[in-house]
């Protein structure tokens, strides 16, 4: 296991520090801005009716970006784990996200409360991950089909899944919750309680993934497999079992991400996951393909850049184009990503 840790303790904690730092930044911004709000609520209201100032817009977009980044991290951490352990760029991961929203929507339609529906979606997502690995991916590994060929298989799976989801959900937009969101004002920014709960769920879930990878036996085995499958196998780790568990985790995390995304955007449809697929790829590539914390750091960067850029762009509908441009630039100057090690790049 030394192998996975040879970067040294300082480098190992670096991603954790970044995550902690960004969380603290959010907290600091909210606390600092909340103080004057309570002191002079009148002033805030006046500023609001005046249409909001430049700082106001910037901070609000920063907060939106962090929220979106956290959601994106939750959705894309599975993509990164699968890449790390199997070398597969899974193009069907967007449909995993949509599947979560669709399963939750089906449960809500059947009369379940939203919390129960979310739990159902997570379980269904995990089951879909298990099923996929059992029926498809483990068979492909057994047949020694190269990761690049598996990638094209995942494209086929994505094409099939998105259209089956469309047949299932219909082409119209669906809503998980019909309640109208109240928004709390904290000085220059406002945020709804639903979004705050979503953020908390994201942080807890991502923390759990981090704990799993860093502190548990199975998590260490997972990192060992991603470092060197042959060596891991030689030390007695059951590589296929680890990969199976990664698929289950990836499916449930993507489903949870899908549910939270549907709540955050207040709407969902059959292509909700497909729309963010490239953002997820941008996030994991930016953070460092296959690096366990790369997805988190990359997602926060992608979320913040996408939302904050709308302040400066000529038209806000270019925000995802900016992310795509950023991805290309990253590969130009630092192809291994922000956290990746240089040797990973061929």
């Amino acid at each position: 296991m030394r192998n996975a840790d040879h970067a040294g303790p300082k480098a190992r904690h670096f991603p954790l520090r970044i995550a902690l730092l960004s969380t603290l930044t959010v907290a600091a911004i909210t606390v600092i801005s909340a103080v004057p709000a309570q002191a002079s609520q009148l002033a805030t209201e006046v500023a609001d009716t005046a249409g909001g100032t430049e700082t106001n817009l910037l901070l609000q977009n920063l907060l939106n970006g962090i929220t979106f980044g956290l959601l994106l991290a939750l959705a894309s951490v599975g993509l990164s784990l699968i890449y790390a352990t199997t070398g597969l760029s899974n193009f069907a991961h967007g449909e995993q996200v949509t599947f979560g929203a669709a399963a939750a929507f089906a449960a809500v339609t059947a009369g379940a409360p939203i919390l129960l529906a979310a739990v159902f979606a997570v379980l269904a997502g995990g089951a879909s991950g298990w099923l996929q690995d059992t029926v498809l991916w483990s068979q492909l590994r057994k047949r020694r089909i190269a990761p690049m060929q598996q990638m094209i298989v995942s494209i086929g799976l994505a094409l099939a899944a998105v259209n089956l989801l469309q047949i299932w959900m219909g082409a119209q937009r669906v809503r998980l919750s019909t309640s109208i969101e109240v928004r709390y004002e904290f000085g220059p920014v406002s945020i709804g309680p639903q979004t705050m709960i979503s953020m908390a769920v994201c942080i807890v879930a991502l923390g759990a993934v981090g704990f799993f990878l860093q502190r548990t036996r199975l998590g260490r085995a997972t990192r060992a497999v991603s470092d060197n499958p042959a060596l891991a196998s030689a030390t007695g780790i059951s590589v296929n079992r680890v990969i199976r568990i990664v698929w289950i985790m990836s499916g449930s995390l993507a489903a949870l991400g899908g549910v939270l995304l549907a709540l955050y955007e207040n709407t969902s449809d059959f292509s909700a996951g497909a729309r963010i697929l490239l953002l997820m790829f941008a996030a994991v590539t930016l953070g460092g393909l296959g690096h366990p914390f790369g997805a988190l750091v990359g997602s926060l960067v992608v979320g913040i850049v996408a939302e904050v850029s709308t302040v400066f762009l000529p038209t806000p509908d270019l925000k995802y184009a900016i992310v795509m441009g950023m991805l290309i630039l990253t590969l130009l100057v630092r192809p291994q990503g922000l956290l990746g090690r240089k040797e990973r790049v061929g």
Binding site: I155, L313, Y320
Partner: protein, 319 residues
């Protein structure tokens, strides 16, 4: 079941346009092993370059020139950061760049030129080409089972001649020393490098040639339909991949056969679905047919990666 619909789609300009784009992808993937996941982006660049030039008052020839130059620049822009990296980086960058083109094209920002998300209508750019048509006067002409307007006959003639020229180009280059170097790059980059060849430069040349063919396909497609950014999303790229892998990568006729079979099957499934599943709502038929495309792609890779015409030894895919 209408057999005529299937025959019509086989000869249609759309099929010719996709065959051209698939031949372009064959240069990338079949010959050189490059995982270009943004072929629809090349098509979109091509049709924008062509249609915008004409709608702004340029001539048709200038439009074609600009569309090809656009594809060359796009290939340079994509290849520059990624051709030195592992294959999957090229895949992610090409898909991202193609998406970027689509997002900028459909944005309100350049609406004056690109027409925003509604794109450009046919009457803004089709005129000069249709005026060149030798089939006058303009009317519907029936030949055997095919009944088209003369402008479509003219487009089909040009489209399939372009496909034939592209296939001949592939056939010739494939046999040339240049083509052998590309196949060497596909099989073993390091071996080619050790012979003193610049792998980077050869990959770039393949990317440019295939991209220009994609742009040409885009121009033909735009003439058969219109310039619509959202019909050139990444799913369109995946279709082109399915066509190439279906017909057989690294073969001369594979991409053409793939395009013909793809569209014929697509129409066939759309016609068959309501007969087999009478409960299916009309708006569910197209997604069902497209779901079959995805399943077909999976089965192809798993059971017959060389496609119909291909040679299994040529398709190792270990990039």
């Amino acid at each position: 079941m209408d057999i005529n619909d299937i025959l019509q789609i086989i000869v249609s300009p759309t099929t010719a346009a996709f065959a051209l784009a698939a031949i372009g992808l064959n240069f990338h993937y079949g010959l050189t092993g490059l995982l270009n996941m943004g072929q629809a982006g090349f098509m979109l660049i091509g049709m924008y370059g062509y249609a915008i030039t004409i709608s702004q008052g340029g001539s048709m020839w200038l439009g074609i020139l600009i569309s090809f130059v656009g594809a060359i620049l796009f290939a340079l822009f994509l290849g520059w950061p990624t051709l030195r990296l592992r294959g999957d980086y090229l895949a992610i960058v090409t898909i991202a760049a193609a998406e970027m083109v689509r997002l900028i094209g459909r944005s309100q920002w350049l609406k004056e030129w690109t027409g925003g998300n509604t794109g450009l209508r046919g009457n803004q750019f089709k005129g000069p080409f249709e005026n060149l048509s030798p089939f006058q006067p303009a009317r519907i002409v029936e030949i055997g089972p095919f009944s088209f307007h003369t402008t479509i006959w003219w487009l089909m003639l040009v489209g399939w001649v372009a496909v034939a020229v592209a296939a001949a180009l592939f056939w010739r280059l494939n046999k040339s020393p240049w083509g052998r170097v590309l196949k060497g790059v596909r099989e073993d980059e390091d071996a080619v490098r050790s012979l003193g060849k610049s792998v980077y430069s050869f990959k770039m040349q393949a990317l440019i040639i295939g991209g220009v063919l994609g742009a040409a396909g885009g121009v033909i497609w735009a003439h058969g339909n219109a310039v619509q950014p959202d019909s050139m999303g990444r799913v369109t790229t995946f279709w082109i991949w399915t066509m190439l892998l279906l017909g057989g990568a690294a073969t001369v006729l594979g991409p053409i056969l793939g395009s013909v079979l793809f569209w014929a099957m697509f129409v066939f499934i759309k016609q068959l679905a309501p007969l087999v599943l009478p409960n299916l709502a009309p708006q569910q038929i197209e997604p069902l047919a497209l779901a079959f495309v995805g399943i077909g792609l999976i089965l192809l890779i798993v059971f017959r990666p060389q496609g119909i015409l291909g040679d299994k030894r040529e398709i190792s895919l270990n990039v």
